[in-house]
Homo-oligomer: 341 residues x 2
């Protein structure tokens, strides 16, 4: 198999015990391990996830998307604190392929969720870095499993409403919540038909002060739009609510709508089916990511890459010939050295 870590790997064993005990330090270390792109870390990460698997799957998994400026962090901060007051333990993770950790990234700045980040019953983790969506989504999904094994029972998975990352997040949650804004230019700023189709619940945020009426109007417009874009006629259009993360108004109703959606899908069996399918999708995304990364980290490929890129850019080598050269080099290294290259 791809470089299995010995079942008795002491580091893995201590991480498993620490995570099960709910130790924040161990949880952080375990997440760092599953997020790591260092080839020599993956075998341990896989061993860890395999050991933790039985303790996962109990949490309520909610994806939260919205265009920049929709107030996602304020919303998550306010909602998270409320859920903790009700006795939940809340973890916040994110999928943002454009994330750089050095600012700019969603969740990159802890102060954006001040109350939650400081709460002992919450765990806020910035998006893993990486320019390839598949790799980022895989790492986030795996961090989510670590946090579930540590006893967090509500997973809030944040993503920015500007790309394919919404689909990746929808593939790892039970319910997908879309935050919208009471603004005409809204749609142009980024709500996409594809994202509307993913939404199980929609909330128009910032329904406060002068914007309250505006928000109700936007909610009505969105409800109409959602009927228009509905891909599946059998599936009822998602409820559209208004709320104000700032004042806390409407948050309970939004959460109730999220729970109603999840309870209904649990009752009808669609939740179990959705999760089974998500496991398969996760496996295939791990396979594709591993293939992609195995080629890029292959020492033989790294050695040849610069020269091949240059010749292809210069036109002295066709793209076809270049791709064949890289693939041959990869296969040779794979035959000789295995996945770790």
């Amino acid at each position: 198999m791809p470089d299995a870590a010995p079942a008795a790997d002491p580091l893995v064993a201590s991480l498993v015990d620490g995570v099960h005990a709910g130790s924040r330090a161990h949880v952080a270390r375990a997440i760092t391990l599953v997020e790591s792109r260092r080839p020599d870390h993956r075998p341990r990460a896989r061993a860890l996830l395999t050991r933790l698997a039985p303790a996962t799957g109990q949490a309520v998994r909610v994806g939260i998307s919205g265009i920049p400026g929709a107030g996602k962090s304020t919303f998550i901060d306010a909602l998270g604190v409320r859920l903790i007051d009700r006795g939940h333990r809340v973890a916040v993770v994110a999928v943002d392929p454009s994330s750089t950790r050095s600012g700019g990234s969603i969740l990159g700045d802890r102060t954006r969720m001040a109350a939650l980040a400081a709460n002992p019953d919450a765990f806020v983790r910035p998006s893993p870095t990486g320019r390839h969506l598949g790799g980022v989504a895989r790492a986030t999904r795996e961090s989510m499993l670590v946090l579930e094994a540590a006893g967090f029972d509500v997973m809030l998975v944040e993503t920015v409403g500007v790309g394919q990352s919404e689909v990746a997040v929808a593939d790892m949650v039970d319910t997908f919540l879309l935050l919208a804004l009471a603004r005409g230019g809204d749609q142009l700023q980024g709500i996409k038909r594809g994202i509307l189709e993913l939404a199980d619940v929609v909330a128009v945020n910032k329904a406060d002060g002068d914007h309250e009426m505006e928000a109700r109007v936007s909610a009505r417009e969105l409800a109409i739009a959602l009927r228009l874009v509905s891909a599946d006629p059998d599936r009822p259009p998602p409820p559209v609510l208004t709320c104000s993360a700032l004042n806390g108004t409407g948050l309970d109703d939004v959460w109730t709508a999220v729970r109603t959606h999840r309870d209904r899908s649990a009752a009808t069996g669609t939740l179990a089916a959705r999760r089974a399918q998500q496991q398969r999708q996760w496996m295939w995304s791990m396979i594709d990511t591993e293939l992609r990364e195995a080629l890029r980290r292959s020492p033989s490929v790294r050695a040849a890459q610069g020269d091949v890129d240059a010749q292809v850019e210069a036109g002295s080598l066709s793209a076809v010939e270049g791709s064949e050269r890289i693939l041959d080099v990869f296969r040779t290294g794979l035959v000789r050295d295995g996945w770790r290259g």
Copy 2:
């Protein structure tokens, strides 16, 4: 190398001669070959492309995107005929991962471009089928090269304005033209910030009859939006024009704007740089597609897949373990049988 076809492969040789001679039958056969996903066809396709490469690169490559209903086919039909009247030879290809050939696909229905499809100086090709964007885009790019080698000097690459395919098309053209509509709901129907950022020229179509004023208003609104979303402050926002493919009004201005953009980038050297980078991107997308497809067509993987999927969905095997099993099976087959599996 991955299963090279003998340099002297007679089929490849006859295709090369036929394409250079501009024979439609040979062009069609060559495109069918590069589009084929049959593993035993790829070596021939690669050999063909390598032989044709010197005769490619002279054409004007234009991407044309727009939401469903923007009138892309009518626009391309009308523009193409005008260009042929000016002495050009026009090829139309497409990138639509949702395409199925059996209707529903853009360009799937020739009657949608009746005039052009019937013209001896035009070649209209539907989108290659396939659910993986990388593979579809690669096939379209390769068809484009076949058509250039056959002497077509204008390449119109159509795509639907609803996904990542725009980015793939922008990566294979010199100029990206976005068709918009004079409708308020427009944005909600799918123009995305990311697509606006790709646009080198924008044209509001259907500026005819009652819609003419509406179209001018939309053009002004889009021009404002384009200044707002402009990712690169140094890059001037694209010109926004209005036209009516139905009446033929404004089409010359749109084409002039396209040529102006291309001539300017040719003069500043950005065109050469863009194409060099596109060659490298094409190579890496071929590498990733080939890796992905090699795993999926591997007989050893196919034999194991059903069982692994079922166990992962049932939870008797973790997704991590499942991915390791598939990767091992793939590597074993690769070591034993090479890329063709």
